[in-house]
């Protein structure tokens, strides 16, 4: 009995292959975009864990305020019985950027110390080669490809290595980083901390930091991943709208069959079970397709994601994707869950279907007053939730709750708003054709509402995100122009070269501006402290958001500090507050400056004060004010022997920063386009599905004297009108979204608030896109209408329906 009934149920799909395709593709797209985003997130998190292990941040670490610890301290600690291993940490040139070089001592590293562990994959076969000059470097495949400089030791490629980090013996690393006799930090075995007293006593300014694990990196990038997840969820929701529509239509078309099967003796429970099993099988097939699609999406996007995380957060992530069983499982799970969500209503209806329920082929598309009320109430409730989230919500979750409630509320309200709008246009219309056009458009709304909701969400997201990105770009460009005050930047190879540079420039008209900094902790988080030279170029150009009246004088006198916006917002700091710097010095905050793109807190103090507080500060980097940067760069190379790689001009730094910016938002752009494509697909499938069901409404109009060609034109015009009006409603929603992104999400995620700029030309481009997509979606059904045989239309007038 079950087999016979199942075959009867499945025969529907044989007769409606397009509907089957819609269902499977909709679910596959939803699953694909969702699982693609999840794959990217999983890959990034795995990278964070590897990076945390590689940096030794999963153990207690000793660091000095000056940035480096003399090797003699390490030796003294070992002699005192401390189980401690030294690490040298720095950056070396690699390809177009730089990579992090970690020097470790393989002999003293504990066996479970991750960098030593990763040696097994690379250096175990040749331990002497690793230790003895010229040594060996161990790097992940993606990182190894960037190590092309001739002076570097041979590279061993290891899959176990952390992305973006190169491992070498400490002696080799000290040479490459010019840190002979110094180490960056000392990593402690946890058990030794409890028995031998306080390790901070070995050197003044030495601080013991508790293990951080990958939590620091994860916290830093949480916003980015939440952003990706939100996009994935949005695409998933848009895909589910397609699936819901397809399942609902299949149900209504099969209602007579359900009725017959019940009348012939199939119990309701069996029928429900069979339909559920049928949906589950389709979900498995679509899920598999979706996972493959997700892999393709993730593989295509992950290089840009890696670039984003490197550029915006300074976090290393491998630009390659590996297959993880958990991800396959999650993808399949979400496909089944999505099908359950989309088909639950249908299964419920089948379970409660009376045996003699009449066939109502268009009932699924007809909105009754109760449904309209429920939709309106839902929209109002969600609008209240959005208001509540704005008033009382906290953190990123509060921000995203506001976004979700706002978008869903608008989506639910869309059919009601369009119905009201088309009611008005119908009343204002003059002529029978126009009256019919608007009245009929209004009647089509319930059956197109899911696709239109999908379009609204996609368009609003596009407007919101592009407004945010363009505002960011405009602000960032202006900020770069202000902030990069020097015309040329030079990093000396060592202190001697730095001194030669100083002496040489002292005889020339150019001005030398030291750019020196130390890294440390401020209010428990990593931060940078910069020294600012006493030069009018800074007060003239530095982009201040808030400041005491004599801020620069205070900085010059060594009394005041400037803090960046992200530090001020995170810690609730204001001008006039007092701030404890690494090492314990307390200074008054004289001003707050904008510092876009920097993930860390930053403080700027007068240069003499920086040198006084941190005598060990590295003094190698300088900015130079000059009217002839090219000539000066050439002179620096030819006369002082400074390598070209140590000199960069303002224009190339700007170009590089902008490139980082563009790559950062390439992922957002790609997801934007994908979401729009899914929405376009939703409209196409809805229109094609409706094409056949529209005939009973079109045939009488044709019979009464409207030619098929004109009907087709009107059908196309209707699609354009629906897309156009949806765009008009998406515009304020998108701007509201942009406002939330700029004033709530960005502030929570990055710590800075951006001004909002409007880009009408961009809206016009998007409106054209929406209209073109709608025209493409409507063109085929309209073309089919012009080619429709009169016999097909005449069937409407006979009893063959």
């Amino acid at each position: 009995m079950r087999r016979t009934a199942l075959l009867a149920l499945l025969s529907h799909w044989r007769h409606h292959p397009f509907q089957l395709l819609t269902l499977v593709l909709g679910l596959a797209l939803a699953t694909g975009l969702w699982s693609g985003v999840q794959a990217i997130n999983a890959e990034a998190r795995a990278s964070y864990d590897r990076a945390a292990s590689a940096l030794g941040s999963d153990r207690p670490v000793l660091q000095a305020a000056t940035g480096t610890i003399p090797e003699s301290v390490y030796i003294a600690m070992r002699r005192a019985g401390w189980k401690v291993t030294p690490v040298v940490d720095g950056w070396i040139e690699a390809g177009e950027g730089s990579v992090r070089l970690l020097g470790i001592d393989a002999l003293t590293a504990p066996p479970d110390f991750a960098p030593a562990g990763s040696l097994e994959g690379g250096a175990a076969a040749d331990p002497l080669g690793f230790l003895m000059p010229p040594g060996r470097m161990i790097a992940a495949p993606d990182t190894a490809r960037r190590l092309t400089a001739k002076e570097l030791p041979p590279v061993i490629v290891s899959d176990a290595a952390a992305p973006g980090i190169v491992l070498a013996d400490i002696g080799i690393a000290q040479q490459l980083l010019r840190l002979e006799g110094q180490v960056s930090r000392l990593v402690l075995a946890e058990e030794s901390t409890a028995t031998l007293g306080n390790p901070e006593d070995f050197l003044e300014g030495l601080t013991l930091n508790a293990p951080q694990g990958s939590a620091g990196l994860q916290r830093l990038t949480d916003s980015f991943h939440l952003n990706l997840t939100a996009f994935g969820f949005l695409s998933f929701a848009v895909g589910l709208l397609i699936v819901h529509g397809a399942i609902g239509l299949a149900f209504e078309q099969r209602r007579p069959m359900f009725r017959t099967l019940r009348a012939l003796g199939l119990p309701a429970r069996t029928l429900t079970g069979l339909v559920a099993a049928e949906l589950a099988s389709l979900a498995v097939a679509a899920g598999l397709l979706g996972i493959v699609l997700g892999y393709v999406v993730a593989a295509a996007l992950i290089p840009d994601v890696a670039a984003t995380l490197r550029g915006l957060y300074g976090v290393p992530v491998e630009g390659e994707l590996s297959l993880r069983p958990a991800w396959w499982g999650a993808g399949m799970g979400i496909a089944l869950l999505g099908t359950l969500v989309a088909g639950m209503g249908t299964i419920w209806k089948i379970a409660r279907l009376p045996v003699l329920a009449p066939a109502r082929p268009r009932a699924w598309a007809r909105a009754d007053a109760r449904l309209a009320w429920a939709q309106g109430a839902g929209a109002a409730l969600l609008a209240l939730v959005a208001l509540g989230a704005r008033a009382f919500g906290e953190g990123l979750v509060g921000g995203f709750a506001l976004l979700a409630a706002l978008l869903l509320s608008a989506a639910l309200a869309l059919p009601l708003a369009l119905a009201a709008l088309f009611g008005l246009t119908a009343r204002l219309a003059r002529g029978a054709r126009a009256e019919w056009f608007w009245a009929d458009t209004r009647q089509q709304l319930p059956s197109l509402s899911l696709a239109l909701m999908a379009l609204l969400l996609a368009l609003a997201t596009n407007i919101g995100v592009s407004t945010m990105v363009y505002s960011f770009r405009l602000t960032f460009d202006g900020w770069l122009d202000q902030r990069l005050v020097s015309d040329l930047y030079v990093t000396a190879a060592d202190a001697a070269e730095a001194e030669r540079l100083r002496a040489w420039l002292a005889l020339r008209p150019e001005t030398l501006l030291p750019i020196w900094r130390v890294d440390g902790e401020i209010l428990g988080r990593p931060a940078e402290v910069y020294g600012v030279a006493d030069n009018p170029v800074y007060p003239a150009n530095w982009p201040m958001l808030e400041a005491l009246p004599d801020a620069w004088d205070r900085v010059r006198r060594g009394e005041g500090a400037l803090v960046n916006e992200q530090l001020a917002r995170r810690e609730g700091l204001n001008p006039g507050d007092r701030l404890t710097l690494p090492g314990g010095a307390v200074m008054e905050i004289a001003g707050i400056y904008s510092d876009y793109g920097n993930p860390s807190g930053q403080v700027a103090i007068g240069l003499p004060r920086l040198v006084a507080l941190y005598p060990g500060v590295e003094r190698l980097r300088f900015g130079i004010l000059t009217d002839t940067p090219r000539e000066l760069a050439r002179a620096l190379t030819e006369e002082l022997g400074i390598a070209e790689g140590q000199i960069s001009d303002q224009a190339s730094i700007k170009a590089f920063s902008r490139e980082v910016f563009e790559r950062t938002f390439a992922v957002t752009d790609a997801l934007n386009v994908l979401t729009l494509a899914v929405a376009g697909f939703a409209i196409l499938t809805s229109l094609l599905t409706l094409g056949a069901m529209r005939l009973p409404q079109l045939a009488p109009v044709w019979a009464l004297g409207l030619p098929r060609r004109q009907l087709a034109r009107l059908e196309l015009l209707r699609t354009l009108a629906l897309a156009g009006f949806t765009f008009l409603l998406a515009l304020p929603l998108g701007l509201a979204l942009a406002w939330v992104l700029l004033t709530v999400i960005n502030v929570e995620a990055f710590g800075w608030r951006l001004p909002m700029y409007l880009f009408p030309a961009e809206w016009l481009r998007l409106a054209l896109f929406a209209l073109i997509a709608a025209a493409l979606a409507g063109l085929w059904p309209a073309f089919r209408l012009t080619r429709l045989a009169p016999a097909t239309l005449l069937r409407i007038f006979s009893n063959e329906r």
Partner: protein, 226 residues
Amino acid sequence: MSGPRPTPLLSVSGLTKRLPGADRPVTVLDNINLRIDAGETVALTGESGSGKSTLLHVIAGLEPADDGHIRLDGQDLAALDDTGRAALRRDRIGIVFQQFNLIPSLTVAQNVVFQARLAGRNKASWTAALIDRLGLAEHAAKYPEDLSGGQQQRVAIGRALAPRPALLLADEPTGNLDEATGDAVLDLMLELVSETGAALLMVTHSQRLAGRLSRILHLSHGRIAG
């Protein structure tokens, strides 16, 4: 001695229509010849499948003929393209379908005036009177789905007569109605046809209803009998 016959409103000569069959085309209408003068009411009867509805559809220009000529007011339908045939239907022909085929998105009043307005011949006083005569005044603002079958058929008749067509084609207009309602609908239709001077060609299975029209044509196996 009577004068020459006036030019017929509708003349059909040598009309043949074939439809695709399982093996070869099936001839549904075979060399049909007929003429209908202005103001004449003609019943078209015949068993199921005899081609009555097809003949009506071909005369309305809804389907092309394979052979022969159809002239309405001297205008040969074969010479018209899809747009021309649509214009002819709009301007000269009213059609009443058995399934009513009202436009669900328009109100009763909008449905009645729809074709007249399409043709640019809507006369408010006439359509108002028509709505009143059809007993639809109190339902004018309702939508078709809110009406009974008889009421919907009256809306369909009103829509067909509103532009004052020269020829009214009705395909079993009372086929979905009970006898009493059917009689009432036919009475009203004949009355209005007589007032407007339109000719009526009505397909019906009922000999009783056919007998109330001025002439009966019987279609059998695609040919007019007798």
